[in-house]
């Protein structure tokens, strides 16, 4: 045994060899790591231009918009003196004369800088009627200073009303939950709790419910229409299936606007849909389908049908027909076989199609704008209206915030439960 052991002389050599081999291995793995790191950096660099562009053209705009829902410095910026004067006020009754004087001075400053109108608009969002009162006061203040200015303020009853100063006070906080609460028809009450706004002021819950209702109706309608057709396409010979799938894809490839335009033509009082209803005798008179809820749902169902159908079809296509035959041969009745063998397998496809349609319906804008009536406008139309007509960015931002939360939550569930791959249509 001892003869076989390496001699004392050999030992250092062996040790040196081993450490050299270790060093080689280390340097190889280091080189490999470096190379992999280089590869990784190169991939990142390749993806970087699009990611940067998306951040600039899509990410920042949306973050900026959403921030407008909770951050509104207009009033705080416009009323610096008032903000200071209100610091010691306890929100009870009216503040002291110094606050009135400070507000008068701030209003005069705004008039001089030309920002009075913007301030009036911003205050009006929190305090209905404030716009005209503020602009009236500003005119009164034009030639008044010191005691005269204070008297001018006191002569307008609006500034001594119990709701005015709490609204100004909350407005001087740049960070605000006011708009988000308003978007859900909620507000802070005097005791610092959250309450519902009076029914005559509540609008948004109704609009959200309407949006969900339309989305759910369209989803259900597309499912009823799409499921049998998907089943047929998945079970007929290839050539026929190709023709049928083209019939689904042709409308799918036509833009929403063009299809909405087509429906505005069809739904006219003397349009084809009314002709058809009269012809088969369902209606005894021509119906007003344009600017109606039913017209909107019909048009949206047409637009969304392929979105519901394609995920269902792509699952049905993978189910071999022999399975059902096997079920029959084992004695299952057609309905039992369908319920126990077919439905469980196509269920993920049905879920994917329905969720996709529901999510997309929540964001509909063009079709309600053109086909819906005044009481059929969905949440997106209200957002656009707040930007285009009311010029109230904060309210538009708050509604966007809530719509986005719903959309992303549903999409998150979709991605989690069904996987992103189901988004691939065709």
């Amino acid at each position: 045994m001892s003869a076989l052991q390496p001699s004392e002389l050999d030992r250092p050599t062996l040790a040196r060899d081993r450490s050299a081999a270790d060093a080689d291995l280390k340097s190889v793995s280091a080189a490999l790591r470096r190379a992999e790191f280089g590869d990784r950096m190169r991939s990142l660099l390749l993806a970087a231009p699009l990611l940067v562009l998306l951040a600039l053209s899509f990410g920042i705009p949306i973050v900026l918009l959403l921030s407008r829902a909770v951050y509104d410095p207009t009033i705080a910026d416009a009323l610096p003196k008032t903000t200071v004067a209100l610091a010691g006020w306890n929100d009870q009754g009216l503040p002291g004369d110094d606050a009135f004087a400070a507000l008068a001075a701030d209003l005069k400053d705004n008039q001089a800088k030309g920002t009075a109108y913007e301030l009036a608009k911003s205050l009006n969002a929190r305090l209905p009627g404030a716009r005209s009162q503020l602009l009236k006061t500003v005119r009164k203040l034009e030639s008044a200073d010191g005691q005269a200015a204070l008297d001018a303020m006191k002569s307008v009853p609006f500034w001594s009303a119990p709701t005015t100063w709490p609204a100004i006070r909350s407005g001087t906080n740049s960070l605000t939950s006011f708009y988000l609460l308003s978007a859900l028809d909620l507000r802070w009450n005097a005791d610092g709790g959250i309450e519902r706004v009076p029914p005559e002021q509540a609008i948004f819950i109704q609009v959200f419910l309407r949006t969900f209702f339309v989305a759910a109706s369209v989803t259900l309608a597309t499912l009823i229409l799409a499921f049998p057709l998907a089943y047929l396409i998945a079970n007929v010979p290839k050539g026929l299936a190709a023709i049928l799938i083209v019939a689904v894809l042709l409308p799918f490839w036509t833009s929403i606007l063009v299809r909405t335009a087509a429906w505005t033509v069809l739904l006219q009082k003397f349009g084809l849909v009314n002709d058809f209803l009269l012809f088969i005798g369902i209606a005894s008179d021509r119906l007003d389908l344009m600017y109606s809820r039913i017209g909107l749902i019909i048009a949206m169902t047409h637009i969304q049908l392929p979105f519901t159908l394609l995920p269902i079809y792509s699952v049905m296509r993978t189910i071999p027909p022999s399975q059902m035959k096997a079920a029959y041969s084992l004695g299952a009745r057609p309905f039992t076989a369908f319920r126990r063998i077919y439905i469980p397998q196509v269920f993920p496809g049905v879920m994917a199609g329905c969720m996709l349609t529901f999510i997309l319906c929540l964001g509909y804008y063009i079709t309600p704008a053109l086909i819906g009536g005044a009481s059929d406008q969905l949440i997106s139309n209200f957002i656009a209206n707040y930007v285009n007509v009311e010029l109230n960015w904060e309210m538009a931002a708050a509604l966007s915030f809530i719509l986005l939360v719903f959309t992303l939550a549903l999409f998150g569930i979709f991605a989690r439960v069904l996987g992103l791959d189901r988004l691939k249509l065709v």
């Binding site: 049998p228 057709l229 063009v258 349009g271 964001g363 986005l404 065709v426």
Partner: protein
């Protein structure tokens, strides 16, 4: 396939009902998109059947008047700009993402797809707010940027699909043979994934050409695109010129997307 070899009466009835139902659904799908076509050739000024006569007068309005001509021009400028940027950057990103080792692939993919999920009004209003501050509102560049965000996901997905059939060893072989990375990209990779790239480009073009909501917020009066003219026309008064414009837009979308899908299918074949 639908009927068993020895169908029972109830089975025959079920299958017949299925066919009738599906026939009605197909009619529901196709009739609305086909209706504008005959109406656009109507010589009368109304949307009522029967047609008064055949004429191309509404096409002369769309292709011959200044208002529509400038709209078509604007649409083409925006759509070409979007297609070039979205296809180039989308292809690079798809190549990067096709690498298994790409860090954070599972996070980046949903982010890339998010422009398709976020309601388009939110995108449009946000772009309007931000672009107005940086001087991009009412510019072609602004519209093209916003459209690129909406169109690039299609490019990433189609090119990504064609890359699943691409053998990365080919790139190694090219490198061993002495090709520089750029050379091997243009001579080896690009020719093989070209169907996917072209298909993505067609998707990007159609996405931009059909888009109306972002344009509505970002475009000035001089930058109205064809869909925006249609939208405005539908709001103001219904003119048969709109059916002609709709027919033209539909024809272009269907043609391009047909090509895109055929190309995408070809590009995917090696993996199947």
């Amino acid at each position: 396939m639908l009927l068993s070899p020895y169908p029972t009466t109830s089975e025959r009835i079920r299958i017949t009902l299925l066919w009738i139902w599906c026939g009605l659904v197909i009619l529901f799908l196709l009739v609305p998109i086909l209706i504008p076509v005959p109406l656009s050739f109507n010589s009368g000024a109304f949307f009522i059947f029967p047609l008064e006569g055949i004429s191309t007068r509404w096409y002369e309005v769309v292709l011959g008047t200044q208002r529509w001509q400038s709209a078509i021009g604007n649409s083409l400028i925006v759509a070409f700009g979007t297609t070039v940027i979205a296809t180039t950057l989308g292809t690079l990103t798809a190549i990067a993402l096709s690498d298994e080792k790409f860090p954070g692939r599972r996070i980046i993919m949903p982010l890339l797809l998010s422009p398709l999920i976020v309601p388009v009004v939110i995108t449009a209003v946000g772009s309007y707010l931000f672009y107005a501050r940086v001087g991009l509102a009412s510019t072609y560049a602004g519209i093209i940027l916003a459209h690129t965000a909406l169109a690039s996901p299609f490019v990433v997905v189609t090119v990504g699909a064609s890359l699943t059939g691409f053998d990365r060893n080919l790139m190694r072989a090219a490198a061993i043979s002495g090709a520089r990375p750029l050379t091997s990209f243009f001579r080896v990779m690009l020719p093989l994934i070209l169907p996917g790239v072209l298909s993505g480009a067609a998707f990007a073009f159609v996405t931009s050409f059909d888009e109306v909501v972002v344009v509505q917020f970002l475009a000035s009066a001089g930058q109205r695109t064809m869909p925006l003219e249609m939208f405005i026309g539908l709001r103001e008064k219904l003119s048969p010129a709109i059916t002609a414009a709709a027919t033209l837009m539909m024809g272009l979308s269907i043609l391009l997307l047909l090509v895109a899908n055929l190309l995408a299918r070809r590009g995917r074949k090696p993996s199947a």
